[in-house]
């Protein structure tokens, strides 16, 4: 059957089956009955507008893909890419291009995808170079040492009749500084070489793991199976993950925790709750009799095909260090710069076991609003029973504008990138707002 002749109903059915959803599940998440969805899928009811958008969201595709097919989606995409760059006449020729040269269209779209990946890597590296405290401290040390050596050697060579006492002092100091320079430069090279060996480039172990999980779509069927092959399958996966030793250690910890979470909250339970009540970790915890962090981790790491909207999760320890981050588009978390102390994830540390709900927006100009629930919990340490392990969690969902009736708290990813004025918690001057 040619794509032009394929109907929206058929595309919905094909997509639903390819992501492994039953008709009843898709219908429930889209807010319609299974029998009505059945009529749509068999072209006995027309579909459009909000319902088409809702179903497309659940199926993780653009609405045009369902209504017009993959070809139309590609044409729309190319047209969007071409509009700011090309002449109007060229934009109008996009459809002709797609019809006559489909392989070139795929090539262009593939280039665009690669460009986005490279942009993300450039942003990550830029952030790293700007904010990585180890790199920054090392470079500062090198420059300071070179300054001292340069100045002292120039004094020794240029100063006539320098007193022997000063001469001895400067030579001794230069010897000290050259040893320091040697150590610092060696440590710097080792640091960069270690990172170069990482499969993913200049990444910390946490970033390696988060990238690995994100690339896999958090979709690991062997976790959900809860069978006796867990250890075997886990080791096979760790062996082929291509991460650094620290990354493998962290990834293993993630899977052990995830398996425990799945044991407490099986997929059927989580799915059924999400279908009925949406992404509500506190409600899920109450319904299933589990703790809130378990529900947060379970919801945040459900593959997209199991839920109708994206959500993010941030976890920190009692020292405020970020341990895990599942990003959500539009909400920036800087791993190498000090985070905003007003983030509710830190407030929760002062009020353990109490969910703190807050609506956030980053900076005064950002339009995306996020619904967050933060919750801190102490668990007993196996190593030291007198000192529990405290972790704080922040579950993040994007709100559409109509849902933003609550008071919005505005804050920045870090002080340097924050445009909020008159903040008592400011630690350094902003680089993004005039007037500082």
């Amino acid at each position: 059957m040619s794509e032009r002749k394929t109907s929206a109903g058929v595309r919905i059915r094909q997509r639903r089956r390819s992501v492994g959803l039953r008709q009843a599940e898709l219908a429930s998440r889209a807010g319609i009955s299974a029998s009505y969805l059945n009529l749509i899928e068999h072209d006995r009811r027309r579909i459009g507008g909000k319902l088409l958008t809702k179903i497309a969201d659940v199926l993780g595709v653009q609405a045009t893909f369902l209504s017009e097919g993959v070809q139309a989606t590609k044409i729309n995409h190319i047209r969007e890419l071409a509009t700011p760059l090309a002449h109007e006449e060229a934009v109008q020729q996009v459809e002709d291009l797609a019809t006559r040269f489909p392989m070139w269209v795929d090539f262009i779209l593939n280039q665009e995808r690669q460009k986005r990946v490279l942009e993300a890597q450039v942003n990550a590296l830029t952030e790293r170079l700007s904010h990585d405290p180890r790199l920054s401290a090392s470079l500062h040390d090198v420059l300071s040492t070179v300054t001292a050596i340069r100045s002292m050697s120039a004094i020794l060579s240029d100063t006539e009749n320098i007193e022997p006492e000063w001469q001895t002092r400067f030579i001794r100091n230069m010897n000290e500084e050259s040893l320091r320079l040697s150590d610092t430069a060696g440590a710097l090279v080792q640091f960069l070489e270690t990172d170069a060996k990482n499969a993913s480039g200049l990444l910390s172990p946490q970033e390696e793991v988060e990238n690995f999980l994100e690339t896999s779509g958090f979709d690991f069927p062997f976790l959900e199976n809860q069978n006796d092959h867990f250890e075997k399958e886990l080791h096979a996966l760790l062996d082929t993950a291509g991460l650094s030793p620290s990354g493998i250690w962290l990834l293993k910890s993630y899977f052990v925790q995830a398996r425990e979470d799945i044991r407490k909250l099986p997929l059927a339970v989580a799915q059924s709750f999400v279908s009925a009540s949406g992404l509500d970790p506190v409600g899920l915890a109450q319904m299933a009799g589990v703790d809130v962090p378990t529900a947060m981790r379970r919801l945040a790491t459900l593959p997209m095909k199991q839920k109708s909207e994206a959500c993010g999760l941030l976890i920190c320890d009692a020292g405020g260090n970020f341990l895990f981050h599942r990003p959500i588009e539009g909400f920036r978390v800087l791993r190498y710069a000090s985070a905003c102390p007003l983030l509710p994830i830190f407030d929760a540390l002062h009020f353990p076991m109490r969910p703190i709900r807050r609506v956030l927006a980053q900076n005064t100009s950002d339009v995306t609003i996020f619904d967050t629930i933060s919750f801190a919990q102490a668990t007993e340490s196996s190593a030291n029973k007198e000192q529990p392990v405290v972790k704080s969690y922040m579950f993040i969902r994007a709100l559409n504008k109509s849902g933003a009736n609550a008071k919005v708290q505005r804050l920045g990813p870090s002080c340097a990138l924050c445009s909020v004025k008159d903040c008592d918690s400011r630690r350094e001057l902003s680089l993004v707002e005039e007037g500082f």
């Binding site: 420059l143 100091n173 000290e176």
Partner: protein, 122 residues
């Protein structure tokens, strides 16, 4: 009586080298090695010029400069900022906060002396 330079810098060997250089050039030099009470040191010494490092323990050179410029008596006090970072945004920030001159490490002794002389006798 010679004019006084207050050097606020935390690297001992840079302090020693600059101290030596400036004294040889005829300036009276006082030194201070941390950020958190640098303003007290400025008030106490009443220098004619400050050589101020950016990366200091306790309080950054930027913060010290910002606080200094809120004081009526010190709005025009010449300040030469020293930093190991030479990015445009650092230079812009220093200028915006009221630095008179800005030098990036590593600098030459001749350059430092030339700038200090020019700032003392503009």
């Amino acid at each position: 009586m010679s004019k006084m330079v207050l050097l606020i810098e935390d690297e001992p060997n840079i302090i020693e080298a600059i101290n030596f250089l400036l004294k040889r050039d005829g300036w009276d030099v006082k030194t201070h090695a941390n950020g958190h009470d640098a303003l007290d040191a400025i008030h106490r010494n009443k220098p004619d010029l400050i050589v101020l490092d950016v990366m200091l323990p306790g309080k950054s050179g930027y913060e010290i400069l910002r606080d200094l410029r809120t004081e009526e008596d010190n709005k025009a006090l010449p300040v030469l900022m020293l930093t190991a970072r030479g990015q445009d945004k650092d230079r812009d920030l220093a200028t915006q906060l009221g630095a008179t001159r800005f030098m990036t490490k590593p600098f030459s002794n001749a350059e430092l002396l030339s700038v200090v002389r020019a700032m003392m006798d503009p």
